[in-house]
Symmetry: C2
Subunit: 488 residues, 2 copies
């Protein structure tokens, strides 16, 4: 099949190939669902076909998907969602009155009283009121709230707005290392420049402003740094930032004229003694008008994490602060092209920011379910640190918050050489071997970024406690075998 | 507030301004939710505050949101969704057995049996089987099905993959004029080049391959045309393409080495006598292996339109055909960064592609609801054409399919001059005036593109029949006043 050349480009073969596709998309990497997950799925199929393995099931501790790991949904939320989906149930006496009231309110704010319609219900007001309560009364304007399809959607949108320039005037985006790879993927996709700042593993993955400054100064040579991304509590590193650290970061952002992106999706996931979640907005406003009226910021939240873990509903929002009104108008236009975030997710978000109150019938059971989930997570965070640190060659920081541990692993030199011979990162080699031997699926640290010469993996703390113990013990066994016997 | 310059860029003022934001985003236009909708919302607030107007409510005929206009959801779909949201209802005897069976099947395919989890259920297989039934047995491979957050999401993703090059090697995207502005907006946002081909209003908005060729040849001078987008049935123009026309388009795409994007979200919305929906895939395969094994294509569908109209759930899929396997791997990676489409939308999609069967208890009522919705739309399509064409100066093509009419309006020269004085497109001026006088919200034709010197508006045919009649009559009255009295 030979065809004429168009603009000197040959037309033989496919229209769309690896060589002529969007080059930025090719640069995108996303380890959380990378080759290791594909191999895990393949092994699952093999197990089903009766292939003998040293284990009977694959345990996927690679992804922060609470319900898939057996966490039960919050009853009240699901009752309201069922009522919204099928309003005939409003006549059903088995549903509590407060669930019906909530459902009726959501339906009333929907055009045609149907969650099948496109216009968002009155969720933005409820989100603003939630933020005000959370931040001790600091005002939140519903006009600054943008609903989103999970937090990822909003993060991509803000990074898109901020990307411009060519060559060494290209927008630079500061992201932590290790990071959640949505950030590096989006930076690559937008053709922006990644500026890596390293979290301090020896100080429980804390953020040091000196390191921000080092990274920024180096980056100024080859790009235009405009954005500073913070993940607090941290993913994959599980640290919770101190108030002092947040102040320092805000001061740095102001001095260096950076737009702050605060990823706060784990705001309810704080476990460690002495750790507390401080929102960037609250700290910003506590620092006085010199900061609160100047520093531009977007803060992100989601229904996918915390105690609800409803990833599948893709509910989320961002609050923008001090954003130029003309830019806001552009943002509004941009999000309207994509129509609206899913309305069931918006309804769920409305419940999360406006949960049952003490005088309502569902309050007691709601609080019990919420507390139980968070207490179990805290216990699993503690167990994870404790068990990993019993093994020589695994060093695990406390899981202060979020849903992951990111322990450092010492690998034998022979394994590192062998991995490189096979063209793999050493921690990918390690995780692949763990998957084959023990049926446990983790994500290698190289997928999140790490200091040169160090190796890690990310594991979620989401499996039920009993299963988590087994997972931790199997990894410890494996590690001892891998480091002591496998490469002698 | 004076700050040091970075790379010669002054740091005074906001970090993010209209001048230094992503320039492609600034170029995006999206009329469907533009200034006219903002004014409509303002008028609604004024009415609530008791401001006197020549009408008592604003009727929004600007947006294809069926439920917001009063269309009732399909009972069976909502029953299953309620069961999936709150599985305790599986014990409830008021739900039909087939709804329970469907819900159980969806829950079983979800990790943790919860639609709150992230991994897609077995929807892709069901979609593939649906396509096979629709296309008379032509095979569909679930590996070619990508689920999406509505069709928009998938359309944006494919356009993103296809965009590359700089200057006159930049990707050119052929889109119909008039078009649904998602296309022009995405082309602008990606920095690709829009290649407009005009539909033939005098031949019921049909597509003429000669016009495709004209547009393509002109575009080859300044860009690299790679994509041909087709909307069938048409939005905003309501035409249904003949089988012959689809063949011609496919032949053209093959000859000119173009990637075909077939937006088929209105595939069940066909009303006119003699019109029939032909899927691009079916026609492609009927044309024999010379075509079916070479022409690269993506076809899009959604849960937002047709008889269900569930915009709020953001369910959708695309099928890719003849896509290079390496590109497919890149596509899979790209979509995985955004995690997953909303699972309630996926569940709904699963029901749409796998509705109640004749031997199931819900079949009769399901079919009645479906038929009633489509019959009412057909009646409204007929009414719309009939009533508009009674008025001199409004010329309305038959609404063969989809949900819109795009009549041509003749405007008095004086009105055109007045509009230009006010810096408005003449049809925007007309629609704004209509909104102020009659409380009816339409979208001016200029938001969709139209031949220079012609004027149109888009109106949905979605209001309930009684209301639609009133809307049509008011528009006719207004048009007579506007053309005969207002500018004398």
């Amino acid at each position: 099949m030979s065809q004429p050349a168009v603009n000197g480009v040959s037309c033989v073969g496919k229209v769309l190939t690896l060589d002529n596709m969007n080059p930025n998309v090719r640069k995108v990497e996303y380890a959380v669902r990378g080759p290791i997950v594909q191999r895990a799925m393949q092994i699952e199929r093999e197990l089903k076909q009766g292939v003998k393995k040293p284990f009977t099931e694959v345990i996927k501790a690679n992804i922060g998907d609470a319900h898939a790991m057996g966490q039960k949904p919050i009853t009240f939320f699901r009752q309201v969602l069922a009522l919204c989906s099928y309003p005939e149930l409003l006549e059903d006496n088995n549903f509590p009155e407060d669930a019906k009231k909530r459902a009726q309110r959501i339906l009333d704010s929907c055009g045609g009283h149907s969650i099948g319609e496109k216009t968002p219900p009155c969720v933005r007001q409820d989100v603003a009121r939630y933020i005000e309560r959370r931040d001790g009364g600091i005002p939140s304007n519903p006009d600054n709230i943008y609903l989103s399809t999970g937090a990822s959607d909003a993060i991509v949108t803000i990074l898109k707005l901020l990307t411009c320039g060519e060559g060494h005037t290209r927008t630079g985006v500061m992201i932590p290392i290790p990071q959640y790879p949505l950030y590096s993927a989006t930076v690559a996709d937008q053709g922006a420049v990644q500026i890596s700042y390293y979290l301090d593993e020896d100080r429980c993955w804390s953020l040091d402003v000196q390191e921000l400054r080092r990274a920024l100064d180096a980056a100024k040579q080859h790009c235009n740094p405009r954005v500073l991304c913070i993940i607090n509590p941290g993913n994959p590193t599980g640290q919770v930032q101190s108030r002092q650290c947040i102040e320092d970061v805000i001061r740095f952002a102001k001095e260096e004229h950076l737009f702050l992106m605060a990823d706060e999706v784990y705001q309810d996931n704080v476990y460690a003694e002495g750790s507390k979640f401080h929102s960037f907005k609250k700290v910003l406003f506590d620092m006085g008008p010199e900061y609160s009226s100047t520093v531009e910021m977007a803060s992100f939240h989601s229904t996918s994490k915390c105690y609800m873990g409803e990833c599948g509903f893709r509910g989320g929002y961002m609050e923008v602060i001090n954003m130029d009104p003309e830019v806001k108008a552009q943002l509004t236009k941009l999000v309207s092209v994509r129509l609206c975030p899913p309305v069931p997710g918006q309804a769920l978000l409305d419940l999360v920011v406006n949960p049952p109150q003490p005088d309502e019938p569902s309050y007691t059971s709601f609080m019990k379910e919420r507390t139980d989930v968070l207490a179990a997570l805290a216990e699993k965070a503690r167990l994870t640190e404790e068990i990993f640190n019993t093994v020589p060659g695994i060093t695990c920081n406390p899981v202060q918050g979020a849903m992951y541990t990111f322990p450092r692993i010492t690998l034998p030199q022979k394994a590192i050489i062998k991995a490189k011979e096979e063209g793999q990162e050493p921690d990918m080699f390690y995780c692949m071997r763990l998957l084959e031997e023990k049926g446990i699926c983790l994500v290698p640290g190289s997928g999140f970024g790490q200091k040169e010469g160090t190796f890690h993996f990310r594991m979620t703390i989401l499996p039920p406690t009993d299963k988590l113990k087994i997972v931790l013990e199997r990894i410890c066994e494996f590690h001892q075998w891998f480091t002591q016997d496998a490469f002698v």
